[in-house]
Structure formats: C-alpha cells, structure tokens
C-alpha cells in the first residue's frame, strides 16, 4: 500500500484511532475511565480525546470501577454508546457485579427492548513483571457470562478494526488489549486510513500448515508463530490460528484446519482450569473428534498466581519452549 492510503501504526495508536474515529462519527458516544482525560490514560490510549471532544464526552472518573460500569449501563439506557476503560484489566473484578449481573443481562431481561452498546476495554496480560494484580488474563470470567462478547486482538490492524466493530456493536463487549504489545516496534504496520472494521467472530489464519493446528490469541500468537518457525526446522508444517474473538468463537475455521492437520494444540495465558484453552479443546472434541490423530492438548499459564520476579513469571506463563514441547508430543503421538 502506498503512503497516501495508509500509515505505519503501532497497536496503541491503532486503538486510539479507533476510539477517536468512532467518537467523531457518533456524537452519542462517550468515554468513561480513570485518568483517561487529562492524563490521556495510564498507557496513553485516550491521549488527545479530551481536547478534541471535551469533558462532557471524555470523563475522568473516580477510582470506583463498579460505579464506572454501572454508570456506563445507565448512560447506555439513555441511548449513549459508552467506552469504559479499566486502568488495568485486573481491576475489572471491582466492577464484576455490574458487568455480569446488570450489563450482560439487560437485553435479555427486557425481552430485547434495550440494547447495551458498551465496550469495556483495558490493558491485559503478563510477561511484563506486573505481579499478581497487574498481569492477568481473566477473559474466562466473561466468556462464562452469557450476554457478553469477548475480544482480544494481536495486531495493530486487528486492534483498530475489532475495536471499531466492538464500539458499533449493540451488545456489551469486553475488549482485552495486550499492554506488552502497545508500543512494540516490530508490530508496527501500515493500516488503511479509510474506515474499516473487522467483524467479531472471525478468526485469522496467521500461518498455514499441514501437520498441526495451533489455536491461540493475544500475545501468545507471537510465541506460536515462533514455535511454528522452530518446528519447520524439524520438518513439521504448523498452522497458526489467531481466534481474535473468543465470544463468538469462529469454530468453523478451527475445525476446517483440524480436518487438514488432524492435530491441535491450544495456547493461552490464563490459568489452566476452566480456561478458554480448555473450552476450545472441549469444542474440538465435540465437533471434530473423528478428524483427530492425537489427543488434543493445551499450553496455558499454570494454576498459580503470576509472580513478580521475571524468571518465575516465565515459568508460570506459556513460553516458546513450553509450547514447542507440547507440539512435539502431539506431533509424535
């Protein structure tokens, strides 16, 4: 693409542009969050919005997540479209009741009369040494709450397209941004200047292969791509699927891949028990069992908290080596 139609953008700026463009085109949209106005967000995702749209539409909120989400629900009832930022996705637990009991169920309990166009987004994920309460992927909590959609992009292009989709969606969306990818230079890419969206519920095949399917999302996409490179040197051809949206899940893309490869490993950085990696394996077993030549396997965070210190953190989270080992076991089964 030429410079006229596209600009090189990192993951963080892609998100910023998505919010900015939606704020520009929809006067009904507002943003709520801690430090999002004057400071431009803890990581800078909302930088510049206050100056552009004013404090009526970009509101600095007290540190009170339950109130932020509750107010978002109330504002949505009056026809506003709301982007609510969690300063870290770990803090979403403070707003948990409002999300799972009020936000997620409103459409249902009004027999479809009320829509809840609310996006709750925030920086998520480990590998940054944030310790127990600044490192989590807790997406499983919300995949487990009917009524919510759950999204997690891994590239700048996807980040922008998916966030725009989410902001236009009439349903509540929990949007997981990977903070370690925010300013990652190697991820910068040309993305279109003109408006585009990526529909929720469409996976992306990041690499094609014949022998094994790796299914993942978020920053584990990059670990998986590296594993695929390493496995290629061992003579194996690996397909890497980035699901991008957890709810709704693009099972068709996963199953089609398994029909081709007959082997599958799922990877995510949430704890193992009741995690989304396990959920995907259960679905594979239900829907593609007859195509499998090896037991489906997963590589996840251990069922432990995320420790502060780096060597221990990487021991707990999926790494290239760990994923590689699980793949080899599955391939040699």
């Amino acid at each position: 693409m030429g410079a006229a139609e596209s600009i090189k953008t990192n993951y963080l700026n892609a998100l910023k542009e998505a919010i900015d463009e939606e704020m520009y085109s929809d006067q009904e949209m507002i943003c709520l969050g801690e430090d999002i106005g004057n400071l431009g967000g803890a990581f800078g995702v909302t930088e510049g919005l206050l100056d552009k749209y004013g404090s009526d539409r970009v509101q600095d909120m007290p540190i009170a997540e339950e109130c932020i989400v509750g107010a978002a629900v109330g504002a949505a009832l009056t026809g506003r479209r709301v982007m609510a930022e969690m300063q870290f996705i770990d803090f979403i637990s403070c707003g948990f009741d409002q999300i799972v009991n009020n936000l997620a169920t409103f459409h249902y309990r009004t027999a479809g009369e009320v829509a809840m166009p609310v996006v709750i987004r925030g920086p998520a994920g480990g590998y940054g040494g944030g310790a127990l309460y600044h490192s989590q992927m807790n997406e499983g909590w919300f995949c487990h709450s009917p009524g919510l959609k759950v999204v997690c992009p891994s590239t700048p292009y996807d980040a922008k397209g998916l966030l725009k989709s989410a902001l236009r969606d009439p349903n509540p969306v929990i949007f997981y941004e990977i903070k370690e990818l925010y300013r990652k230079k190697s991820l910068e890419e040309f993305i279109p200047v003109e408006d585009y969206i990526i529909p929720l519920g469409k996976a992306s095949i990041r690499r094609e292969g014949e022998d094994l399917t790796l299914v993942t999302y978020g920053q584990n996409v990059y670990h998986c791509l590296e594993v695929a490179d390493k496995l290629e040197q061992e003579g194996y051809s690996v397909e890497v699927i980035d699901i991008r949206t957890l709810v709704p899940l693009d099972e068709q893309t996963i199953n089609n891949s398994i029909k081709k490869t007959s082997r599958v490993v799922t990877v995510n950085e949430a704890p193992r028990t009741c995690g989304f990696a396990g959920e995907m394996l259960a679905r594979v077993c239900e829907n593609a069992f007859e195509y499998l030549d090896a037991p489906p396997a997963r590589c996840t965070r251990l069922d432990t908290p995320v420790p502060w210190v780096k060597p221990l953190e990487s021991f707990v989270l999926p790494t290239v080596d760990k994923i590689f080992n699980v793949c080899i076991r599955t391939l040699k089964y």
Binding site: N38, P62, R272, L302, T304, N325
Partner: protein, 339 residues
Amino acid sequence: MLVTPIDISNPESPDTLLHLYKQMLYTRIYEEKCNQIYRSGKAGGYLHVYIGMEALSSGWINALKVGWDYVITAYRDHAHALALGSDPVKIFSEIMGRSTGLSRGKGGSMHLYDPQKGLYGGWGIVGGHVPLGAGLALGAKYKKEDRVVLNFLGDGASNAGVVFESLNMAKLWNLPCIFIIENNEFAMGTRLEYHASDTELHKRGMPFGMKHERLDGMDVLQTIKDAKRIINHVREYQEPYLVEIMCYRYAGHGAADNDQALYRTKDELYKAKERDPLTKLANLIIEKNIATPQQLETMQEELEEVVEEQYAEADAAPAPEAEEVYHHIYTDMEVERGH
C-alpha cells in the same frame, strides 16, 4: 545504626529529633535508590515511592505499639515497612525479586508483607485492602486485645465503594480502626478536585457517625502529637476514627510515571517542596543547635553508604528457583506441574 521504631515519649528531645530526622532521611534515600533500581531494570512491573510524605509514615508508625498493632496499606508501601522495622535488605530483595525477599520475590514492590512487624500488606488494587483493615480490627476486638489498626489509603481510594462499606461496618461495630487517608492531592494523574465531589475527604466519616479530622502531614512533630492522641483514643474507647492527612507527593505516581506536566505545574511542585518535611525538621535541628548543617550532611553521606551496602547485599542474592511457583498455592495440595 537505625533504631526503628523510635521512642517518641519525648519527641522534642535532641536525641529523638535526630532519630526522627535520620529515619525520614533514610527513607528518602532508600526510596531514591528504589527509583534507581527500577530505572536500571532490576525491578519489573510497577513501583511507587513515598518521597515527600515521610513525616506521615514516621509520625504515625512510631506512635504505634510496633509488632502488636496492625498496619495495612496500598501499593506505596516501602516507607511503612521501613518504619515498622522490616529488614531493608529483605525489602530491596523483594523489590528485585530475589529468593531472600519478604515474599521470596513473588509479591514485589507493591505487595510487601511482614506480619511479625504488624504489616499485613502492601496491596495492589486501589481500595481493595480497606475492608481487610476493618477485618483485622474486628479480629482484635473479638479477642478483646487492645490492638489498633492503621488502615492507610490514598485520596483516590477514598472514592471506592468498598471504602464506604468498610466505614459503615467499622462504626456499626465500633472497631478499633484508624482510616488514614494519605491525601497527596493526586489520584495518579487526576487532581483531588477532579475526582472527589467534596475535597474535604475527612467528611467521609461524618455520615457514619465516625470521628473525623483533617490534619497536616508535613510536620513530623505535629503528626506525632496527633497520632498519639488519636491512637490512644481508639485504643481506649474502642471506636474507629477517620483522618485525612494533607501531604504531597513530589515524586511521580510510579517510577515510570506519565508526564507530570499534564497534571501539575513546576511552580506548584516548587511551592510544595517549600513544605518539605525533611527540610523543616533539619531547620529546627540546626536552629536548636542540636546539629550543624555539616553534621547533617555527614549523616546523609553515611546513610547513602548504608543504603548502597543494603542494596549490594540484596543484589547478591539469587532469584528464586522456578520450583518456588508451585509452593503456597494451597496448604495441603500441590498444583498440576507444567508442560
């Protein structure tokens, strides 16, 4: 070397004044070293220092029965641990994630923990620890022990719903808990008047019928007087208290703070430094001929050396073994091993 806690039965005696100054100066040097550790990449994640607020931790914690009373606080927790007498080497070790740290490197800067000294954390989610402090007081009251809880929180936390729930419970049951709002004027980058509908945060005790006061936290001698009076009251009369302590953090929110120019002017910062608790105490010490400026400077140099030595000792310790991650998840079972 450093005697902590300091005997403050006679706070204005030359000896005590010098001790207090030494403790506060040491805390500042220690925190400056923490900032440096963070910037050198030896501490991961997030780290928040107490620079500018030393009179608050020294004033209140020295007024406690250390080891008997309970202290709980948020993530800006190094100064509390130091004032309680936690091993500075172990704190450095924890911050750098070493096996010799207070929590063997698993908690880090924001989550210091040293129950033998009465420190029940260091907590990383704003407001989240406040009901725990009330719970500590509930336990003490139930056991008819005359323990007092210092439940520290920031001005930003004072807006969290759970804080209001905790205030109600504490007064309903008259728990011996002192809620201390460290009002340093900023919830991260959001100035007090932009996050609190009524900026007199002490009034948050009022609807619950709780005694409440706004106090200055930049003068350690005044702080000691206030702390003694209120701690004695709570211990004797077994009821909660809410104090808002006016202070100022002139460090950034965290060691990796966003641009401070977005939320304050240089002039404001300069003016705040005129209230500096260390300068104030130093001036008094010099005025009373307890020590010369030269002697205080020597003290500073000595303390800098001490901190360097403590840092070096902490830095020499190894990172914890990977095996460590499987420990302490459950008391009676192991978690599944990795891949």
